[in-house]
């Protein structure tokens, strides 16, 4: 990552950051109790990554 010239992130880093930020936002918006929020954030993050990687593999046969 080069903060001075802009962020240079890999595909995986971008996906991880995106999934983490959106999971946190959804968790805080949709749950009240801290423990519920943590559970929601972890579950949402897991699903984001699972589906992201799953779609990536599903597209692999068409990449060449």
């Amino acid at each position: 990552m080069n903060a001075g010239m802009g962020f240079k992130l890999s595909h995986l880093q971008s996906m991880l950051l995106f999934a983490l930020l959106i999971s946190i936002a959804f968790g805080f918006l949709s749950r009240r109790r801290p423990i519920d929020r943590v559970k929601y954030i972890v579950w949402s993050l897991f699903l984001f990554l699972l589906i992201g990687v799953g779609i990536g593999w599903a597209m692999y046969p068409f990449s060449r």
Binding site: A3, G6, F7, K8, L9, H11, S14, L17, F18, L21, I22, I24, A25, F28, L29
Partner: protein, 138 residues
């Protein structure tokens, strides 16, 4: 007997609450988290501000496309609407991206999505604040 064809008049308290809910919704759109802060929902306010801010900073840092009114097609217009969802952070994004967008690399494309997501997420948060101000369970 009461006339059932006329609509019931809303009590003054309800109309005042509705007006306040509009103000909170617009405030939440203009400054991410402000709508929740006005209702003393500090955790949600901080979360909105930080996540939307982070997405905007990352999106511009990755040289994503900050759409303007001079769009060429419907997708540009939709992107502009999504970017506008960040409220005043749209101006921040424009001022941060001094080198212009570079979507010739995957990073720039990701940045465009980050910026659009920031806008849509902020609209969702503003709508959440509006509903909470109206008394709906939030």
């Amino acid at each position: 007997m009461a006339d059932e064809t006329t609509a019931p008049v809303a009590p003054p308290q309800d109309s005042r609450r509705e007006a306040m809910a509009y103000v909170i919704g617009v405030a939440g759109w203009l400054v991410p988290g402000l709508g929740h802060a006005l209702m003393k929902m500090w955790g949600r306010a901080a979360m909105c501000f930080l996540t939307v801010g982070m997405l905007v900073i990352l999106g511009t840092g990755m040289r994503g496309n900050v759409f303007s009114t001079s769009g060429n097609d419907a997708f540009d217009s939709l992107g502009y609407l999504a970017d506008l969802g960040t409220g005043t952070f749209y101006l921040l994004a424009r001022s941060l991206e001094t080198n212009g967008a570079d979507v010739s690399h995957a990073g720039g494309d990701y940045g465009t999505r980050f910026l659009a997501t920031a806008g849509v997420l902020n609209l969702l948060a503003a709508l959440h604040a509006y509903e909470a101000a109206r008394g709906r369970k939030a």
